[in-house]
Amino acid sequence: MTTGSTSGTWGSARRLLGFDLTGSAREGANLGRLLVLPAIAFTAVLIIYPLIVGINTSLHENVPTINAPADFVGLENYTNALKQPSVGSSAVQTVWYVLLALAIEIPAGLAIAALLHRNFRGRGLVMAVLILPWALPSVVSGVLWRRVFDPDSGLLNSALVQLGVIGEPHVWLADKGWATLFIVCVHVWGMLPLVALVFIAGMQAIPDDVYAASAVDGATPWKQFRHITLPLLLPSLVVALVVGTVNAINIFDEIYVLNGTALNTRSILMEVYNQTFIAGQFAQGLALAILVGLVTGALAIGYAMLLRRRTV
């Protein structure tokens, strides 16, 4: 088909070149500019500008008072931050949080979705209950679970002693392994609803015909899950991975409530918090925060690329 027109009037030519929008298009463009303006201004002032200030600060010498002039030190803050032993241990700890959280959230989220994606009587109520833990402040999640793990008046200790599993109360949160597990448990309690919602939406997007057709073709439920549900659920899986990972990297509140800033369970964000606000090392803390941000962004992009690779 040939492009363009043979019409030679001035108006048409101007329109073709995009000089002159028709009334409606111009109106739309103007309204659009007006409507996005607050968001743009807001983003520029409260996100992009602070980000630039932050990056700039992280490249300068740390100064005790904020307004004091500081020398440019390049990446020194970054290397210094990485040299701290507590940074290394909290980074490793955070990796554990992420892996454990995903290891629970993904299969459990899938299971919940398999359970709830089809309609049944009372489903609405179950769904409402499902999202409740996600809606609660994570600080409160920590508070609600805290008594379970308390060494003295803890419900877990009490139950285990009564059952004779352990002889005497155990200080769970002092034990790095157990403490990590329990913190993840509390974190997952709050995050699982979101992951499950993502999977439920994904499963509902798969038309029922596909299942009917494959059932006619003789596929067993497992084969259906393996060959139909799972591949079609891949986009949801990536979203769930991104959501789960980003939230686990940023884990803070639950740890703070359950175990304070104790080194054995300290997450990387807590380390940033400590360096910046407890130790007053602004520049170094920012450097570390930016590094965490880069890793988070890289992971998100990595997941997105995983999705592209698999679907092409």
Binding site: M1, T2, G4, S7, S12, G23, S24
Partner: protein, 395 residues
């Protein structure tokens, strides 16, 4: 002169796709113009340009004698019925119908009387206080119509307004819409992909393909003298049978050979097609409408073909007989279709239309049995001939 005029209107989307390519169309005042064509041919885009929802990238649009090309929709004085009806879910039926009048700043009392009038015309007075979600599909369709007519606009635009209705209601509404339009005499541009709808409703019908008008005419003109094979196969149901044949001169008379069969074109018909003599000894594409077959028993009869019935469908009043005759001719058709590649996109349609299964519409009392041979006479005055190279009709 009022009505709707499109002058060499084009639409090139930002991605470079030209959906509408220099369409000119003139809908006279009070005329019902149906715009029909296969999916994706640019019908909706054309309509949206007339409405002002889409900018024309070239050309001029006039409504009621005003150049509206650069005007926003609200200044064009058109009403549109959407395929989805696009009702305002948060307003009652009354609010929906009266919205346009309210926007025009009409006094409340007048709005109320106009809305009531429109509602009574459409027979939905008792629905006025419902919300759209409390209506059936057909009722929603009526609200959409009411919203359009109450405004008394300079033009009606309708984009497949009946396609979401069930078959029976669709036929009913067809009649209602045309009657309504006759009554209020507003020029109407009506988009549909259903040729029956276009043929039954339109004063004139424009057939669109790939953003270009293939033919524009009254339903009778389109049926009687399709300009090309595309139009020929698009109009009529079931579609015209298209098959390859050969134009020969026998004893000074034009004869079309289809496989073993010979059809002698009456002299008067041949004389009316001055180009036909030039095709002597050449391939032509022969079009035979299903309704132009006549069942005959006499084996000696001319202008007839022997067919083996593969399937028959009785619709009560009529009988559709499917057959795969012209086995010999079919091979030629395939060859011709291949050779037509240079005609561009015409070739896709050819492959669809030069299909091997043909169909004839016969009287219900014809006795045909599946698997049996049967001799069908073809009305020689009603044979359509096309140039296989250009796909155009031989005139």
């Amino acid at each position: 002169m009022s009505g709707i005029q499109l002058e060499r209107v084009s639409k090139e989307f930002p991605n470079g796709f030209v959906a509408v390519d220099g369409i000119s169309l003139d809908v006279a005042d009070g005329e019902f113009m149906a715009l029909v064509g296969p999916s994706g041919c640019g019908k909706t885009t054309t309509l949206r340009m007339v409405a002002g929802l889409e900018e024309a990238t070239a050309g001029t649009i006039r409504i009621g004698d005003r150049d509206v090309t650069d005007l926003p929709p609200r200044k064009r004085d058109v009403a549109m019925v959407f395929q989805s009806y696009a009702l305002y879910a948060h307003m009652s039926v009354r609010g929906n119908i009266g919205f346009g009048l309210k926007m025009a700043g009409m006094p409340k009392a007048e709005i109320a009387s106009r809305v009531d009038e429109a509602a009574s015309i459409l027979g939905m007075t008792e629905l006025l206080d419902r919300k759209p979600r409390e209506l059936s599909g057909g009722q929603r369709q009526r609200v959409a119509m009411g919203r359009a007519i109450v405004r008394r606009p300079a033009a009606f635009l309708m984009d497949e307004p009946l396609s979401n209705l069930d078959a029976k209601l669709r036929v009913e509404m067809r009649g209602e819409i045309t009657a309504l339009q006759r009554r209020i005499e507003t020029p109407t541009l009506y988009v549909t992909h259903d040729q029956t709808e276009a043929m039954t409703m339109g004063d004139r019908v424009a057939i669109l393909r790939d953003g270009v008008i293939e033919q524009l005419g009254t339903p009778g003109e389109l049926y009687e003298s399709p300009a090309n094979m595309f139009v020929a196969s698009f109009i009529g149901s079931p579609a015209m049978n298209l098959i390859n044949g050969r134009c020969e001169m026998v004893d000074g008379r034009v004869t079309i050979a289809i496989g073993e069969a010979r059809i002698t074109i009456p002299d008067a018909v041949a004389a009316a097609h001055s180009e036909l003599r030039g095709f002597a000894g050449r391939e032509v594409c022969v079009g035979i409408r299903p309704e132009d077959f006549i069942d005959v028993a006499d084996p000696a009869d001319d202008d007839a073909v022997d067919v083996v019935v593969t399937r028959s469908e009785s619709l009560g009043a009529e009988l559709f007989v499917y057959f795969e005759e012209f086995a010999h001719a079919r091979a030629q058709a395939a060859g011709a279709a291949g050779g037509l590649g240079n005609v561009g996109s015409a070739v896709d349609d050819l492959e669809a239309t030069c299909r091997s299964t043909m169909v004839a519409r016969l009287d219900r009392d014809c006795e045909v049995a599946v698997g049996e041979r049967c001799r069908l006479r073809i009305d020689p005055t009603r044979v359509y001939l096309f140039d296989p190279e250009t796909t155009g009709a031989i005139r």
